[in-house]
Amino acid sequence: MKAWFKSGSPWIWMTAGTVSLALIAVLGLIALIAWRGLTFFWPSTIYEFPFNDVDRQILIGEIYEREQIPVTRLQDAGIDTSHITDEFVTRYLVKIGNREFVPLDFTWVLATDIARMETPRDLVMLERARNGNFYGYVEDVLEDGISVMTANADIRAVFRDRIRRAVNLRDEAMTLQRGPIARINYQLDQIRLERRRMELRGTFTEEADAALREEEEALREAYLEVEAELFEIRQRAQRDAVVMRDMRGEQVTLSMNMVLDATYANDMNVLQKWGYFFRQIKKFVTEDPRESNTEGGVFPAIFGTVFMVLLMSVIVTPFGVIAAIYLHEYAGKNAITRMIRIAVINLAGVPSIVYGVFGLGFFVYMVGGTLDQIFYPESLPNPTFGTPGVLWSALTLAILTLPVVIVSTEEGLSRIPSAVREGSLALGATKAETIWRIVVPMASPAIMTGLILAVARAAGEVAPLMLVGVVKSAPTLPVDGNFPFFHLDRKFMHLGFHIYDVGFQSPNVEAARPLVYATSFLLVTVIVGLNLTAIGVRNRLREKFRALEH
């Protein structure tokens, strides 16, 4: 034993233990996020709990969490535990939904209090546009307040058709709001700005004003027309309603225009459950958030993230590549080169929040404020570029990710054998030609790697964005059908910020948590995927040049 200790072998094993610990931590973390994120989409069983105490009201809902707690803690809390014999007892957190009818949509239940856990096939979970989920039984379907059920009709089929109709109407209304109405409002605003611009330049004349007035009038008329159409759709959406029986045993009438989907989770086979699972994923990535982000999808956040990252790539790539070429191909061994290298290291090491502060002060207030005064005086005092927006976010993150591109590109350049350059120079090409025609194309996978890593970094960065352009809910996307189509001054939504906001700032954190896990999973998938791609590209590149050297 002593000899064994002396050999140092236990310490080697200890260091090995730390590696396993680190690996378990990474893989465990990813597994945790994946599990929690993906179960969000899986249809969960809806339970009905009758209690031992027959006077206690029956609960209907999903089991959200279960935990073991010592009985002593219950005693400390003043709960009667005389009927419990074990030291520990299982406790369920049940999501009972029906937010407008119960004080809290989550409740704790002791396993020992429950008589049975039933899963009736007719129990249905309604996904609603407002007030969260509803659990209960479908009793009747109404049209203009009159039942449409006949003796031999299948209530599920009738209900499904009516939901489909309501959802379609909803989509139609949404299309109108997003399309023509948004466009008219935008144009009206442009006219207002045009008038102000002319006033400022002193070119405001009666004729010009009359022309603008005429345009405005036409737009207003068009608006009224669309609005009438919208009201008509809304009117139609009001037609149907569904009568539900909830866990209190009471009948509740819900307007159909609030119902988005109905799931008989207890009456699904595995195939249907998988179908539901993928449908939910699709909804998650393509739909807009509802209920102040705690429900619905994350499409605007995905769009915002991707758009900002693309914009950043366009900015960062040329600068990063040129700087890397300078450092590797042109720079001599002098003090300036050393300083640039230290600058690169430091840019990589400076905390991201500092970039945020810099971006806010320099880009937003200084550059943006100046741009506003020069180019957009008509909308002052409302800032155009002098306020956080997607352009400033992209610029800030471009500086932040610059070192990533430089380091990666330089590594690629250093792997290109000097024989290749010398060959090109010997054939009479200038240095610029050698670099442009020979070196850069050869290093392009390395540049690609750098860019992918930069994108991965930018997609996950939140702290600076909180200062320079991200908002919890943006009314419009930075790209739309109104000229000039790309609105770089707009604020945007971001997946990372979405996680922070929904997980920590939303009114009902408990209800929103699965959604945060799902969003996290989405973000982790994207970032891990990007990183794996980068590693793959890099490894292939290394192999290629190793072959070249021999």
């Binding site: 080697i12 090995a16 040129i322 400076v350 945020g356 610029a432 997980g503 996290s520 891990v528």
Partner: protein, 748 residues
């Protein structure tokens, strides 16, 4: 023909050369841009921060003959300092154009002149109350008093700001009877709270009387009826000055160098709550003033010393104590407070103006502004204009004093804030009240930064370094190819996700399974040792299949089992050692505060984020130690472990140092994890079960709400600048060490 071809070739060649030159220039410029970006960040941050350390500046704007004539008793102005007024000793108030401007009258033009006293009345004494109320009281003969108020109606005809001054008598033109005996008043002080007026006066027969009028307004006629309370305070000796606090609770009476403080909340029972004897060595008391917020009393002396006093709790009661002193060096004529900030102005006998701030203990300015010896002065409500009189000239000055509340010592050392019992380090940047004294000490949040980084490093350094050493030195190359990228992935995980998991998953887990976490630290290493020993006991031919290089894989299930076991034990441990409720036990039995989002959670989460940084650099350093060194050591009979500790680690130590530095840099600047996994309370305590607020989280929390250009905004930039400098130092040092190491290896 041939020659023209050559020349074409030649020119093409020249074009190429020019292009080459341009490319070289462009690329060099691009390279320089990186340096420029860093310098830009540095200097921009500095550019925003620096104004807070600048002193005040006073610039002369206008000067003109005193409008309206007569001797000046008081000066004043409206918020934008376009119109001013003066009260004369013959009882008139003169409104005049203070500054010239577009569409305004020339400066010095009298706009309105009204009398505060009737034709058959005479002005005996005069008093004004706090700037926030801005009323004047004039004492007439026979113990009568009238309240007047200068008001300014602002309108915007044709988009031009028009100020029309007027004089109102808010409590009616009929004077109030102050002294029951109807004697003339020599000295007067008054304050108003809503419709309640409190007067203190010295009559010609040297009685000190205190009178409270509680007014009630008739809704229809808008006339006031008053209920009156009077009392006479027995006090011998000549009274030099009187002051009343705006909350109508205290009366200060100054007799030479003695200051009597009376509690005047109940006039039926006026108590002398404290007597302060001011040291004779400071000379006679020459002026007194209450600062904004009315907590602080400033007392100025002939010697030029000014002391700040406020109430401090102690021995069960609140007593005035001297907090700090300033020395202007010249005899002081008067003190002028500001309306909102803790800045005050001292006018010396020589006509100098001194600008001082209490919280930051700074003297921002002292000289004759514009070489004018000022006799009397007043500050505008927004504290950006000063009107002063010298002989028969009125001078208007523009004040630039944007950030008086900050000084190097106010940021980094203990400051005694108003209503605090002792000097403290406090960060409290905003409050609902306008008269709030902001507390900008960066110490608690810097402390929080260090605390968070410390706990993170406590986890990350041992694990990161040990894992790096094993991976670089013992692990089989095939395994290393998998392990390294996996840890690199760990580095790429967005910190917002780590923060979210730390706050919403780990924090409740730590709270409910704390004994499990403690057990984990003990159980896992022990289990690894036991597993290693058991492995050692296995027959040689089995062991040979799995070398040391694969031990990490072998240990995976062991670690998982040990970890699971320690958490499974948690409830039982809790029952045995902590009476079934750890949190309760910690708080009540051990007296340790427990926050759900605490330093332990941050340590684990941020440690997790820092491990890959340390691992990656340290692994490179260990791996690049030349093989012939370790082979030589092994050949001489050293064991693997001896070779590692005595040869390899020693050689790689600069690289390992730089890894730790880089890790520290990352831990110091990390924002999202601390933002989400701590309670963000700026407290100073090493307790692992309490939270903290870090510099970075502080910026993230407060920056969006701070007003651009305000002191708060600049202080947050200073926090960012501190972070920048911190990490710059760490990174540069680390990079420098690494460069040296690289050079050393290349020579080996």
């Amino acid at each position: 023909m041939a020659s023209s071809q050559t020349s074409a070739q030649f020119s093409a060649g020249r074009m190429r050369l020019i292009k080459d030159r341009i490319a070289r220039f462009g690329v060099t410029l691009g390279g320089g841009l990186v340096l420029l970006a860093l310098l830009l960040i540095f200097f921009y941050l500095l550019y925003v921060v620096l104004p807070i350390f600048k002193g005040a500046d006073v610039k002369s704007v206008e000067s003109y003959a005193v409008p309206g004539g007569g001797e000046t008793l008081a000066l004043g102005m409206e918020a934008r300092a376009e119109v001013g007024h003066r009260v004369t000793s013959d009882g008139r108030i003169v409104f005049f154009q203070l500054r010239a401007g577009d569409g305004l009258q020339p400066a010095g033009t009298v706009l309105l002149e009204r009398s505060l006293v009737g034709e058959d009345e005479a002005l005996r004494a005069f008093a004004r109350n706090s700037l926030a109320n801005n009323d004047y009281a004039v004492a007439l003969a026979d113990g009568l008093v009238r309240i007047a108020r200068p008001e300014y109606d602002v309108s915007w005809p044709n988009d031009i700001r028009l100020v029309v001054p007027r004089l109102t008598f808010p409590f009616g033109e009929t004077p109030l009877q102050l002294d029951e005996q109807g004697r003339d008043i020599q000295r007067l002080a008054f304050e108003r709270d809503g419709n309640t007026l409190l007067f203190a006066a010295v009559t010609e027969d040297q009685r000190l009387i205190v009178t409270r009028f509680t007014g009630r307004q008739n809704m229809m006629t808008r006339a006031f009826t008053f209920s009156t309370q009077r009392t006479e305070v027995p006090l011998r000796g000549r009274i030099q000055s009187l002051h009343i606090t705006p909350n109508l609770r205290q009366l200060f009476v100054q007799q030479n160098n003695r200051l009597h403080i009376f509690d005047v909340r109940n006039l039926a029972d006026v108590q002398e709550s404290q007597v302060i004897s001011l040291p004779q060595s400071r000379g006679a008391v020459s002026a007194m003033a209450l600062l904004a917020g009315s907590s602080s009393l400033m007392i100025a002396h002939d010697s030029g010393q000014i002391s700040q006093w406020f109430e401090v709790s102690g021995d069960g009661q609140r007593q005035y104590r001297e907090i700090r002193t300033f020395d202007v060096g010249r005899p002081i004529r008067s003190l002028i407070p500001e309306q909102f900030r803790r800045t005050f102005y001292a006018v010396t006998e020589e006509g100098e103006l001194a600008i001082l701030h209490t919280t930051s203990h700074r003297q921002l300015y002292q000289r004759q502004p514009g070489n004018v010896a000022i006799e009397q002065a007043a500050i505008g409500p927004r504290a950006n204009h000063l009107v002063a009189q010298n002989g028969d000239q009125v001078h208007v000055f523009r004040l630039h004093n944007d950030h008086p509340e900050v000084s190097w010592s106010a940021i980094w050392s203990k400051v005694w804030y108003e209503n605090y019992e002792e000097p403290t380090y406090t960060w409290q940047s905003t409050s609902g009240s306008d008269e709030f004294e902001p507390k900008f000490s960066l110490v608690p949040i810097s402390f929080g930064t260090i605390k968070a980084a410390f706990y993170a490093m406590l986890l990350a350094v041992p694990i990161g370094l040990a894992a790096a050493v094993y991976t670089a030195y013992f692990m089989t190359p095939a395994l290393r190819k998998v392990v390294k990228p996996t840890v690199e992935i760990m580095e790429a995980l967005p910190t917002v996700i780590l923060g979210f998991l730390a706050g919403l998953w780990l924090a409740p887990l730590v709270e409910s399974h704390l004994p499990g976490f403690i057990a984990f630290v003990i159980v896992v290493p022990l289990t690894i040792l036991v597993a290693a020993f058991l492995w050692h006991l296995l027959p040689e031919n089995i062991r040979r299949h799995v070398t040391d290089g694969r031990a990490a894989m072998l240990l995976m299930p062991v670690v998982i089992f040990a970890g699971w076991a320690s958490f499974a034990m948690s409830p039982y441990l809790e029952l045995w050692f902590f009476d079934g409720d750890t949190r309760y036990f910690l708080t009540n039995e051990l007296g340790i505060n427990f926050d759900q989002r605490n330093a332990l959670v941050v340590g684990i989460a941020m440690g997790f984020a820092v491990i890959p940084t340390i691992f990656s650099i340290a692994e490179d350093a260990v791996f690049s130690v030349p093989k012939h060194l370790s082979n030589g050591s092994l050949a001489l009979g050293a064991t693997e472990w001896q070779t590692l500790t005595k040869v390899v680690l020693l050689t790689a130590s600069p690289g390992i140092f730089s890894a730790v530095m880089m890790g520290l840099g990352r831990a110091v600047g990390e924002t999202m994890i601390v933002l989400m996994a701590t309670g963000n309370t700026p407290i100073m305590d090493w307790n692992i079960f309490e939270g903290m607020r870090t510099l970075s989280a502080n910026i993230a929390v407060e920056m969006p709400e701070s007003e651009v250009g305000s002191t708060h905004y600049r202080i947050l930039f200073l926090a960012a600048f501190v972070l920048f400098v911190f990490t710059f130092a760490f990174n540069t040092l680390a990079e420098f060490v690494r460069q040296r190491l690289r050079e050393k290896y290349s020579s080996l």
